[in-house]
């Protein structure tokens, strides 16, 4: 569906994407994970065929976006980071007007709008204006709108940023359904849990480059330990205390507010910590996540 080789995007002197290679296959859910400014959105916009590449090679649906942009876009669905619905039109009108841009007949977009409002659970609000809808509803409408042309490839840029947990779960459920129906998804996110939930395969981006690639489980297995012991200390005690426990783990990360001990047996490590007479304010044993992978690969926490 998408093949990129040595893809580069420069804005003046600033190099947003510095040689990215990716291949997305039909039917998979592929993720770009990384902090803000990592180059995810720039890459996404090049794939969406709205932003010309500076260098490298890119094929989307087997075509070159520089040459056949409109043809590619006819078969894509795009959910932008920032909603751009028409706030002064109704939910239904938003879907119908947008559908017409894809050369669909009036009768077709009328039918399609009904189907999509059902899918996005917006049928009750069909003839309401968009402006007063909640953030989650607007996001669902944006996703519904992106499906109006039955896209073969759906691009979602930060689909759940700014939504409350309930709205996020509802949205994830809708995305799972799309995937089950064979739609290829490309998702950018800076949420670990989102990437772990939704993506079959992902790349971790940092500073315009890909720093790791694989399935969420494989990335965790490769770049982190099975468990993590998190220790929080009273203010001022963190530095001295962490020195005394360093040897208990394969690797230690010292964050501003806590110390992370990477180990295959978290509980056992915690017992040893207390056996040494060290008493953190709180402790937590958890499984490794993509957050730990990211920390390992970039030396920085993902969310600020």
């Amino acid at each position: 569906m998408v093949q990129a080789k040595a893809l580069v995007k420069r804005f003046g002197d600033f190099e947003a994407v510095r040689g990215v290679d990716v291949e997305v296959r039909r039917g998979e859910a592929f993720g770009f994970l990384g902090p803000n400014g990592a180059g995810k959105s720039s890459t996404m916009r090049m794939i969406a065929s709205v932003s010309p590449r500076t260098d490298g090679d890119l094929r989307v649906l087997g075509m070159d976006p520089d040459v056949e942009g409109p043809k590619i876009r006819a078969r894509l669905g795009v959910v932008p980071q920032q909603d751009n619905l028409d706030n002064e039109l109704t939910v239904r009108q938003n879907l119908q007007v947008y559908g017409r841009y894809f050369g669909l007949s009036r009768a077709h977009v009328r039918r399609k709008a009904e189907e999509l409002m059902e899918f996005a659970q917006l049928t009750d609000r069909a003839d309401d204006e968009v402006e007063p809808l909640s953030g989650g509803m607007k996001r669902r409408l944006t996703i519904a709108r992106s499906l109006v042309n039955d896209p073969e490839l759906l691009l979602l840029d930060e689909p759940t940023t700014g939504l409350d947990p309930q709205a996020r779960h509802l949205l994830w459920d809708r995305l799972f359904r799309l995937k089950a129906n064979g739609v290829t998804l490309i998702i950018t996110t800076h949420y670990m849990d989102e990437a772990e939930q939704l993506c079959d395969r992902l790349v971790v981006m940092d500073n315009g480059r890909i720093v790791a690639e694989g399935s969420p489980a494989a990335l965790i297995a490769k770049h982190s330990t099975r468990e993590v012991l998190e220790l929080r200390f009273a203010p001022g005690e963190q530095t001295s205390s962490s020195l005394k426990v360093e040897d208990l783990a394969e690797r230690v990360e010292i964050l501003p507010d806590r110390v992370l001990l990477y180990t295959h047996a978290g509980e056992a490590a915690l017992e040893q910590v207390t056996a040494r007479g060290i008493h953190p304010v709180s402790s937590l044993v958890r499984r490794s996540s993509l957050e730990d992978v990211f920390l390992r690969l970039t030396g920085r926490a993902l969310t600020d």
Binding site: A48, L76, N181
Partner: protein, 268 residues
């Protein structure tokens, strides 16, 4: 829900621009009352106040071509309203397409190109100008403001003048990244002086030379002359051709720049 083949396809350029107009019309149908009031009825109020009220104090004379002041001012009020609508529709609504509502961004994620989005906006403004001009022209009939059927041509002159002002403003809006402060300045220091001084209410021969120069380069003066010419007469054919050519030239130059800047803003 999803099939292996997408149903989307690329449509021709003119059709694409027209689909945008369809979209605008969907919006217009919801809000037409307030729109028609500001763009069509406001000049009617001017016609009542200036043409009938103020005009009752003005004697027909050489400056008005021997006509009543109402008849003298009616075509120019249509044209100068078109200037306001043209500039108004080409500034904040266009900036909003890039920045607030972001509907240009939404539309160019579909098979549509920035050029087609630009074209759709252009056609829409032209339709708005023609519609509000026609509404004014019809009402002005009841004031006895028209001499003859040349009034129909005045509507078209209004549309042309409005478009000649709209396209450079669209180009400017496409290169505006702040909240559009400059539009307010343009209204205050260009549009209002133009309305007052470019021959709408009195012939520019009354102006000192410096201001006459300003009037000569302003599209409104050419529109006013052309608008009066097609219904009141008294303007030579060659002069009318000159006014027409001047307006067309500004329109085309603005359209060329606007289309370019639409691409520059939307393809990054």
């Amino acid at each position: 829900m999803a099939t292996m083949e997408s149903t989307g396809r690329v449509v021709g350029s003119w059709r694409a621009a027209w689909l945008r107009v369809e979209g605008y019309f969907t919006w217009y149908r919801r809000y037409w009352t307030s729109n028609l009031y500001s763009s069509g009825l406001q000049p009617v109020l001017f016609l009542a106040a200036m043409g009938l009220g103020f005009g009752s104090q003005v004697q027909a004379g050489p400056a008005t071509g021997g006509l009543s002041y109402l008849q003298y001012v009616a075509p120019a009020l249509l044209v100068s309203a078109a200037l306001q609508v043209g500039v108004g529709e080409a500034t904040y609504p266009v900036l909003s397409g890039f920045k607030w509502q972001r509907d240009y961004v939404a539309a160019t994620a579909t098979p549509m190109t920035p050029g087609q989005v630009f074209g759709g906006q252009l056609i829409w403004i032209a339709l708005r100008l023609t519609l509000s001009g026609a509404a004014y022209a019809v009402i002005a009939v009841f004031f006895g403001a028209w001499l003859n059927f040349g009034a129909v041509l005045v509507v078209l002159v209004g549309t042309l003048t409005g478009m000649a002002c709209a396209t450079p403003m669209m180009a400017l809006a496409a290169t505006t990244f702040d909240e559009g402060m400059r539009f307010g300045l343009i209204f205050r220091f260009v549009v209002i002086p133009m309305t007052l001084l470019a021959g709408t209410f009195f012939p520019i021969a009354q102006l000192p030379l410096v201001l006459r120069l300003f009037a000569w380069i302003s599209p409104l003066w050419h529109g006013n002359e052309l608008g009066r010419g097609v219904t009141l007469g008294g303007v030579s054919g060659l002069a009318m051709l000159g006014h027409f050519a001047y307006l067309l030239l500004i329109f085309l130059a603005g359209a060329w720049a606007g289309r370019r800047y639409f691409y520059r803003r939307l393809v990054v």
